[in-house]
């Protein structure tokens, strides 16, 4: 029983990362109609930057905040001056460009930091509570993720700019007629997504160890999480991520074994696309124009 609970808790912890990456994909998709395959690689790159800052002696939470802001600025600029120019490109050209971005960032990370596995420390105390069922790190990850989601919710729900992002995501033509720059909103969406990637990367790195491939599995699961919400739904992606984290661990421990964990994600992705493209919570919606 204790082993089972441990699996569930560990699953929820990695599920937080899946939820954050899934949410990042949803936000980029809703503000630009693009699926950013490089979302995971951007998270890895920025996690390395945080690692370098820590090596240079910067305190953990200062490095965390700096990386968060830096990732936001970098991604917003990337969208504004590079990716945004693809808005009229064909879907095939867009997919090719994102694969290019994926490989560029991946290689850049390997070029700068090498392919050796590094250790990123956890900001939380070692040891565990509740009789060994939950480690401090796991609890910390859950709290940081919850705080991030709460901040996002407040931003979207109660701020003027958040309202503009929602309006632009829902009906770009009407948003522009109301004086909202959809270009600016797209840059903002990319910035927010990259910041969420930083949180995901820095929270999973102590567990997965830091290497240039760290986020590739997380991206696949994040993508499956986003699809569980029909790639449109914010709560759908969050719930999807947590469920997938738990499912992955339980299936890995009791059914298919760790070797086939990623296969589970792929089966889910294909299954969702075939049987429930609108997501588990979604209603069938009109195609985005």
């Amino acid at each position: 029983m204790e082993a089972f609970v441990n699996q569930v808790v560990a699953g929820l912890t990695t599920g937080c990362a899946y939820a954050l990456i899934g949410l990042a994909l949803v936000i980029v998709y809703r503000t630009t109609s693009h699926v950013n395959f490089a979302q995971g690689e951007m998270a890895t790159l920025t996690t390395y930057i945080a690692w370098s800052l820590l090596q240079a002696g910067v305190p953990y939470w200062v490095a965390f905040a700096l990386t968060l802001v830096g990732a936001f600025v970098f991604a917003a600029g990337l969208e504004r001056w590079v990716i945004g120019r693809l808005s009229t490109a064909s879907p095939l050209a867009t997919v090719a460009a994102f694969i290019g971005l994926f490989m560029t960032i991946h290689s850049l990370t390997g070029y700068i930091w090498g392919y050796d596995v590094r250790e990123l420390p956890s900001p939380f105390p070692s040891g565990s509570l509740a009789g060994g069922l939950v480690s401090w790190h796991q609890l910390g990850v859950a709290l940081v993720t919850a705080a991030m989601l709460a901040l996002l919710w407040v931003f979207f729900r109660f701020t003027r700019v958040g309202l503009a992002v929602r309006a632009a995501a829902q009906n770009p033509a009407s948003a522009r007629l109301s004086g909202i720059s959809t270009q600016t909103m797209a840059a903002l969406g990319w910035g927010l997504a990259a910041s969420m990637g930083v949180v995901a990367g820095m929270m999973v790195a102590p567990q997965l160890y830091l290497d240039p491939h760290m986020m590739s599995g997380v991206l696949i699961y994040g993508f499956a999480a986003a699809l569980m919400g029909g790639i449109q739904s914010v709560p759908g992606a969050v719930i999807g991520g947590l469920v997938l984290g738990v499912l992955e661990n339980l299936l890995g421990a009791y059914v298919v074994g760790t070797q086939l964990k990623l296969t589970v994600a792929m089966v889910l992705i294909v299954g969702m696309l075939v049987w429930r493209p609108q997501g588990l919570l979604g209603r069938p919606s009109a195609k985005r124009v």
Binding site: R160, N171, S174, R176, L177, S178, G179, S181, T182
Partner: protein, 245 residues
């Protein structure tokens, strides 16, 4: 200000505008003006280019020619910039944000305001004009009836405190009673504000009854124009519609 000054006050000046979607021009060499505090009707059968002309004014399609708002040349500017300069466009099919609440829809209208000062007053005035929106302010816009959504779309446009309001078939698909309410609101705007209104309306009778001035489009070009009251009697109008009714 005397009513004669008001009549002379051109807020939107469209000169020799041609526009289309990459193929042959849909709108050809159209010139028209919209005056402050007056309703200008744009008439013509389906597919003559009324919607395309409105899109050209808002920078939503490729266009040549010149468009001037007050004393500002706006041709070639981006749609959101034109909106912030003072043109509010309620597109065909309303363009309501269905997943936002009624009040959020109105707040979205504020993004085109030059200043947030007075925004709360504008919102209260709109709720006064459209009491059914006030009752439903926290409801999802998608749950409103067609007529209420149309009112909301106009309300959102008014939140921008625009100099010019473009309305594309505001009574389309509405029951006659609801359409009459929309027209009643337009009449109030005509008498209580200095907004210039360009109205595309399928129902010629209603449009000419409401408008001060009118233009008739046929195959993308202006074939008749003048005071609405005169056009009503005119043979030109009959000719533009001949065989299509």
């Amino acid at each position: 200000m005397s009513s004669i000054d008001k009549a002379q006050d051109v807020v939107l000046d469209v000169q020799r505008v041609s526009a289309g979607y990459g193929g042959p021009a849909v709108v050809r060499d159209v010139s028209l003006t919209v005056k402050a505090g007056r309703i200008t009707a744009l008439l013509g059968t389906n597919g003559v280019g009324k919607t395309t002309l409105m899109r050209a004014v808002c920078g939503m399609v490729q266009a040549t020619g010149s468009v001037t708002l007050g004393s500002t040349a706006i041709s070639g500017l981006r749609t959101e910039h034109i909106a912030r300069l003072g043109i509010a466009h309620v597109p065909e099919g309303r363009g309501t944000f269905i997943d936002l609440t009624v009040e959020e829809n109105l707040r979205v209208g504020c993004f085109a305001r030059r200043s947030m000062e007075g925004a709360a007053d504008t919102m209260e005035r709109i709720y006064g004009w459209l009491p059914r929106l006030a009752e439903r302010r926290d409801q999802r816009a998608g749950s409103l009836s067609g007529g209420e959504q149309q009112m909301l779309a106009i309300g959102r446009a008014l939140m921008a405190d625009p100099k010019v309001l473009l309305l594309d078939e505001p009574s389309f698909g509405l029951a006659p009673r609801v359409a009459a309410e929309v027209m009643h609101l337009l009449r109030r705007l005509q008498s209580e504000t200095r907004m210039g209104i360009l109205l595309v309306e399928q129902n010629t009778e209603i449009a000419l009854g409401l408008a001060d001035d009118a233009y008739v489009l046929r195959a993308g070009a202006v074939v008749a124009s003048g005071a609405a009251a005169q056009l009503r009697e005119s043979a030109d109008l009959q000719a533009a519609y001949l065989g299509s009714h």
